[in-house]
Symmetry: C2
Subunit: 205 residues, 2 copies
DNA sequence: TACTTAAGTGAGTGACGCTTACTTTGTCAA
DNA sequence: TTGACAAAGTAAGCGTCACTCACTTAAGTA
């Protein structure tokens, strides 16, 4: 009776259910949209009874939040990696972060939308807020190094926010299909670079 | 038995159920989020049985889409009105449109998110696509008049898209609470004006 | 006045969110 | 080694929801 589901489980105890549920939800959200998935289905994918998820998550929003946190962490990894490949403090490091951001959005639009679509008082969750701030900090630090100021400087924060705004808007409209990609039109990196230069142009040290 | 619900209905036939359901859903989406509402509850608010909505909408996504179309129309109205108060072709007309856009997002974040959060093949719906394009056209026309070109000019489209990107990003991050409003920080109109000027600066006629 | 039809009702179905009582398993102190 | 405990699973059940279907109501029209 342990092999009838898609996930094989050698013992009664799963051992890794929490992580596996997050993975399952990620897939489902990507294929069916954020409200097209069900906890029951995720449990089925993980090869576990429909009540099992509640040993790890208090309710549906809690599970979704965990998926969002996981997504933010993976996004941050990508951004960090992209920046690390460039010279520290270089403009290219900043734009690489933006390009990675847009790439993530296009790659996993379901999770991306989930991260920015949590309406149910998502700010009351500390870990989500922290994951968000740590991700933003990657950009913040890159900008700080470029202009040779501290990341807590108001001017740096303002400039970084401006970049984020522009890149985020482009990313969102892109995955929403508002931006029809036609030949002859600039690609993502053009918009990202433009956004970064534009924000830096008005940076008041 | 007709007065036990919140909406009074003089006759058996409602007469205006479709519009009233959209209104009810709008309220519910605003207070409970897009997935916190139920068709059954909307029907209750409208004072009608749980099966009645299906005489007007084929299913849940269809109803949500109608709410989104309604929202886009109201957004367009606001934008048009804001532009009309300024001189035709003036930069202030363009920025007024952007300010109206951000104001709408902050005013009705639930509907705003709904408009840009429809994942379930929202592009297959013609009326939604049309409503979106007509709304974008308001900005397009304002830009066209400002630079004295036709709205179908690729350069105009590019510039307008750039503005939209920036303003949309700011609007979205604002309602998501990513942007903590502190005293001493620029307000919405600053960002909007900045976005418009920035986009126009690189406009190649 | 009879006919047609749009727009309601209300009961029923299966899925889902979540709870509860119970069972299985690993851990760790005696 | 054992036995108590806690963590993590199961199965059944409750209320709600999306959606369907057979039926009823009322309004327009010939």
């Amino acid at each position: 009776m342990s092999e009838k589901t898609s996930a094989k489980r050698p013992s009664f105890h799963h051992g890794d259910l929490r992580a596996q549920l997050i993975r399952a939800v990620r897939q489902l959200v990507e294929t069916k949209g954020a409200d097209g998935f069900s906890i029951a289905e995720a449990a089925r994918v993980a090869g576990v009874s429909s009540g099992a998820p509640y040993k790890h998550f208090v309710d549906r929003p809690d599970l979704l939040r965990a998926v969002a946190v996981d997504g933010l962490n993976r996004l941050r990894e990508r951004m960090t990696l992209a920046a690390a490949k460039q010279n520290q403090g270089a403009l290219t490091a900043i734009t690489a972060i933006g390009v990675a951001y847009v790439a993530f959005a296009k790659d996993q639009p379901g999770v991306f939308r989930l991260i920015f679509g949590l309406t149910d008082g998502h700010e009351k969750s500390d870990d989500l807020k922290q994951a968000g701030e740590r991700t933003f900090a990657v950009l913040l630090n890159a900008v700080a190094e470029h202009v040779k100021e501290g990341p807590s400087s108001p001017a740096v924060q303002e400039t970084a926010y401006l970049m984020w705004t522009h890149v985020h808007g482009h990313a969102f409209l892109s995955i929403d299909g508002k931006r029809r990609e036609e030949k002859g039109r600039p690609d993502d990196s053009y918009y990202v670079e433009r956004a970064c230069r534009g924000a830096l142009a008005s940076h008041k040290s």
